[in-house]
Symmetry: D2
Subunit: 455 residues, 4 copies
Amino acid sequence: MSRFTEPQHPDFQAMNTSLSFDRRLWPYDVAQSRAHSRMLAACGIVSAADRDELLSGLDAVEAELTGGSFPFRDDDEDIHMAIERRLTELAGPVGGRLHTARSRNDQVATDVVLYTRDQAARARVALNGLMETLLERAERHIDWAMPGYTHLQRAQPVYLGHHLLAYFWMCLRDRRRFDHVLEACELLPLGAGALAGVNFPTDRDLVARELGFGGVAPNSIDAVANRDFVLDYLAAAATATTHLSRLGAELVLWSTEEFGFCELPDAWSSGSSIMPQKRNPDAAELLRAKAPRVAGHLLAMHGVLHGLPLTYNKDLQEDKEHLFDAADTLELCLSAARGMLDGAVFARDRLAAAASDEMIAAVDVADLLVRRGMPFREAHGIVGSLVRLAEDTGRSLSELKPEELHSRSERLDDEYYAVLSQSSWLESKISAGGTAGVRVREQLVAARRALAAGA
Amino acid sequence: MSRFTEPQHPDFQAMNTSLSFDRRLWPYDVAQSRAHSRMLAACGIVSAADRDELLSGLDAVEAELTGGSFPFRDDDEDIHMAIERRLTELAGPVGGRLHTARSRNDQVATDVVLYTRDQAARARVALNGLMETLLERAERHIDWAMPGYTHLQRAQPVYLGHHLLAYFWMCLRDRRRFDHVLEACELLPLGAGALAGVNFPTDRDLVARELGFGGVAPNSIDAVANRDFVLDYLAAAATATTHLSRLGAELVLWSTEEFGFCELPDAWSSGSSIMPQKRNPDAAELLRAKAPRVAGHLLAMHGVLHGLPLTYNKDLQEDKEHLFDAADTLELCLSAARGMLDGAVFARDRLAAAASDEMIAAVDVADLLVRRGMPFREAHGIVGSLVRLAEDTGRSLSELKPEELHSRSERLDDEYYAVLSQSSWLESKISAGGTAGVRVREQLVAARRALAAGA
Amino acid sequence: MSRFTEPQHPDFQAMNTSLSFDRRLWPYDVAQSRAHSRMLAACGIVSAADRDELLSGLDAVEAELTGGSFPFRDDDEDIHMAIERRLTELAGPVGGRLHTARSRNDQVATDVVLYTRDQAARARVALNGLMETLLERAERHIDWAMPGYTHLQRAQPVYLGHHLLAYFWMCLRDRRRFDHVLEACELLPLGAGALAGVNFPTDRDLVARELGFGGVAPNSIDAVANRDFVLDYLAAAATATTHLSRLGAELVLWSTEEFGFCELPDAWSSGSSIMPQKRNPDAAELLRAKAPRVAGHLLAMHGVLHGLPLTYNKDLQEDKEHLFDAADTLELCLSAARGMLDGAVFARDRLAAAASDEMIAAVDVADLLVRRGMPFREAHGIVGSLVRLAEDTGRSLSELKPEELHSRSERLDDEYYAVLSQSSWLESKISAGGTAGVRVREQLVAARRALAAGA
Amino acid sequence: MSRFTEPQHPDFQAMNTSLSFDRRLWPYDVAQSRAHSRMLAACGIVSAADRDELLSGLDAVEAELTGGSFPFRDDDEDIHMAIERRLTELAGPVGGRLHTARSRNDQVATDVVLYTRDQAARARVALNGLMETLLERAERHIDWAMPGYTHLQRAQPVYLGHHLLAYFWMCLRDRRRFDHVLEACELLPLGAGALAGVNFPTDRDLVARELGFGGVAPNSIDAVANRDFVLDYLAAAATATTHLSRLGAELVLWSTEEFGFCELPDAWSSGSSIMPQKRNPDAAELLRAKAPRVAGHLLAMHGVLHGLPLTYNKDLQEDKEHLFDAADTLELCLSAARGMLDGAVFARDRLAAAASDEMIAAVDVADLLVRRGMPFREAHGIVGSLVRLAEDTGRSLSELKPEELHSRSERLDDEYYAVLSQSSWLESKISAGGTAGVRVREQLVAARRALAAGA
């Protein structure tokens, strides 16, 4: 018997109900109810017999949920009420004891933090998989020359393996971010009650241990008002998908006829409804396109929390859909990135031809002058003038004549021509982290070690 | 002598120049140039004499910048070029040697990571200060009763100290987030060159040590393309300001005539241009209003990086204004939060009166029935009917008659009236993290320890 | 027979398929296919017999979709392919003629613009309904005094009718924004083909007329790359929900025990899972909470389009879910706002008591001095000092003594006390758009006229 | 003499002051004060003599502001107070009369709406300029063949003029959006007072006419709480810069060595600090990079307004920096787009070579079969198999032998080879809005007319 006299308006029900999306929380809700039941009995708040009936009832409920036979009802407001309602139908009035010393406020927070923890762990696994693929692909293409770009202009040649490893380090930082999400999920909200704690001498540590938490949230108000872990997850997912959007954009670019650096596998490409010749990099485009979606969820969640007085407010119900869709999106994106990289076939000749564009050795010529004692700025200016001379006369740099070189600087001799031969450009980048083969191999070892350290 | 024949269009210069905002990076630019000069000499790339001239020149440049006499020029494209240009004017052609084995790409990344590191450290200090104030204020008001709210409805009474401590734990998580930003700043980009490493046998570890880094970025491509640390800083700042927006909103609310829970200090209030009686909580409103600004910067930065091919692209220049304004905003907000809390005068009587609203003991009455063996759901229903009876007849819960109680449940006896007396509501919330005095004092100790652990 | 040799990866299918969400476009897809078939026959591109078979087939497909018996298949990539596939099953090979002179690129754009147009029209209708309710409620409370707030501080009294009408004008601007969305939907994309136009002498105007467009998109490239109408819809929806979030926030505030200005209807309120006394304004909170969700969709869509080369890219598939969820959310919010306002019961006494807070007449006292020749700034200062005197001595403004007034200004006589009587404060705001009764009634007339003009 | 006893905290002043950014509103503030003074006199609220002194004083203030000699003071809270303070210094106590019948709330709203109106008008002018350039460039390249892309894959050839015109129509829609902003600025807020109207019989229409408004805001509460015009401006600017980001991205792409479709002018390009050969499309990259910044401002402004109770709150002060930076950014972007397009040199041969890729005629072959009676889907499949045959055997489509064609379909005869000759692909796209020359010329005429209609 409620204090209300009028039934809820159907539009209000449509707005208020969360069952359509929060039902995926059921495994967490059942798990916490089990732990809660055991704790209530351990603390003498319910009897052992009641506990056993509750646990049997929860088993039955779980079986129905797993098997798809759970009878949802239109007036189940959310998954928590649906489960408690069904428990009471199956187990009898003892079901009404389950909500002792607990409120929906701490119950929901607990389900959501458990879900977030699982998703962060899943993201780590998927990132590890992607990193493995990146390492494998990098090793396979460790000495394939390609142009490195700045401003999307060919700048200096690098090895494809070196380029692919750049994504490895992004993923490694992403994994660390999900480690931080796990930290943000380490304290149990359950037991905070509606907001002030509960009237029973509960043992929250017991519940925390059973559910795998590191401890209990130290302040009941904060426990029910806190959604930092959702923000942290969304921020980590937004950064990860932003990284993947860069990869997607590069794969789209490299798959153009103009670049022609790689061909994506059939299994990750589409045809056209009217152009029979098309092989469209749809998966790579979607990889690029999904990042704003996750960033949009992050922003929206900040918006929800903005200026929200403590403690629980219904506004917090908005946390779930943003979180769920971000998690689904991230999972798909990580899988797609791995699948595409795994099957991508790179065009060694096209890459090498682009990398041997002589213009991109200009800085090496400048450095030659530096090694002969000229300040870098002066050397930069001289080479700039050679570039202009070559362009104006329609020649390549190596077609300039010795006397033309001398007129610019006496220090330009035959080594100039030697520097313009490709392999030296790559192998001369011997600084730590550089593209010289020895450095890339060193990097590969470090990457493997880093991957293993968090596997 | 450049390869270009036409001068830059003035509108392009206006768009391209970053000097107006990146000049605040100068201390970092000078510091890295010093470390770079020493390393070049240590590795035999420049002579000891050149190094000394470079260092003296940098001293002179720094003195001008510190003293405000540095002669900026209209065609200085950015702070890096301005400093190098001035160095060459002051120190002569040796200035041209400074850019050996370095590119603007790794130079800029290094300045920005140094700036971010400093700002994260500053944010930690300011958060520690705010947490101290919160602890002091919580202790001072440790046993002042006030209503706790859910849905902005009075729900259960809590102590003001307990409520204030909720913000403490948010700040503690914020501090941890800035610890993670510091981790994200631990690897030195310098030495990556334009993107591929450099043609000289440099010692990046030497530079890293001098500048306080934990190591060097392992991949030159990633080193110049990476702005994760900016995203991490912005995400941490967005969450921190979102927390503060909740505090600001509560202070605005509590300062209304209707709530009347606190009065903000004159030093943090404004008058009205036409209403002489007004004391406006402008600072609290701005605290509320600034969070979307920082979230906007975070979003914009995600947008900038979205789909951006490796390695450096000019788009990355957009990192700075978002970062700088976020850092300035966060600093002001943390200071304002502390100042307002520090001077806020709480109205003990108003708080207590609101907390003694009898209706908010309803759950305690239900729990009384639970302790007498009734399932919680049944108890909840019975108390709901009592609430309705009281409302319908214009009485308070304690004005209901014993026979009216009995007609609902035989288990309702005189303890019903005892439960409705205020102090018991607060002190009965004895679960860990609850609002009972002993729990709040316990929490205060834990909070002090946590604060000290990261001071 | 396709050019591909490998089947699509299941993860790619999961990412690529849009059927789960774009199936709601089917009515538009069927409608455009009908119009397209008729046009093809009218232009002699297919025969009249083929047209008739296509139209019969489309009738059959529509019947299945309406009746829920349409046999979707797992490998239907999207609703467009599903419908064409089914059409061919039902109508035979002639179904393969439907895609003549059309591509999925212009087909999708057409479906989405038709959907957007419908949703803009629906939003107008719902806004009109809400405006009607606002007018009705404003008229009903046209002379109920309440405090007007600035900075959430009581500032000057107004009539509740005047306050409610403020929302009317916001809605009116929202309606105009949706008018602009309709304008943005006025040109037909269909007929642009993949991007370049088609190889047949089609009559696009015929299709445009049948589908209710004002004309045809003048550039085939823009026609398939353009999603401005989605941005326009999302921007309009974001502003409308932001307006509603202000209303929601006020309803939450007014429903607090502290304000006590209104009670929301049971039909739009919730109880608590553990606090039997609670009447929570969940619907109002959700009204407040939904705005960031729509703004998040807007931002995400800007992100999708950011830096996207022409013409069609798969990224554009992301338009739909943002659009659909925004439309659903807006519809619920508009309905909830109307429902809550409709049933809200305002507390005349509480409003009046708050409005008669004497302090809020301070500006009127200052204006009295102005009318007696004192510059406003001087008057403002004098009244400020009276406020301080009253506060310091614990009196109200009307309890100050005549001699205390005189010591501040000789121009303060007995009219001072008259000004402090409440009704004059309200009725003296006689400027156009002000809160004086005559002005509010005038406003009501203007509002009615404006509403009718766009009904 | 204020009611406050303590001075403001310096950090509060730093947070509270808006002078550093709102000073650019001074021309609007002076203009509205002039109009307000005249109205006050016309209505008999101040004397004609007072009015004249106020107007002379405002002239003097304006002269100082124009000349840069205006003495700003540290404690000027904002531009409005600075001007009034200075006016009183220059004109004497009469300056204190200026604030009669006006509040800072309506004053600020009026300045901001005037500023927004001006910026919308400026954006229209700049858009018109860009559209002129687009028309000129389109006409100049009206018959240059280039590949049209979908999924960044060559799809069908188009004329460069046709592609450039796609941007024209985007700009035209942008211009219409700014027309709507002008509509959103059509009602004068001034005269609404703090929120409730004023105590004087003012003539708001007089002020509206003098300041060029179409009428007065009909509700005083809405007048001071409304910032829709800021949202509308930001939304229009976000869409316009998003369009420009697509153009920027294409120019970056086309400037690559791989595409080689155009060379940007020296005046809009940069060199590299270490790579002497580089010509970097910095302006095009910034064009791409600025859109998220404006979208970030839009989002932040939605955030500021989210859940904000009526009427004026200090939060609204945040409107200005978002608006100002968006306006500055848009202006630079429009200028840069025009400048780059104006000087871009397109490479006719590279474009033509890319456009003659035979594969992109595949759809035309399919359409040939359709014209011979085959359903499109069947034709699509046959051509798909020809594409695969050609690819598998390393031949072009035109190298396939007649018997190979026949084995797929008897309807494939010599016209197959004719269709594969380039010019026919372009000129056969004769549907309205298509790329056939006659259609593009038709489009050019329509575009000119549309441009002129809003010039």
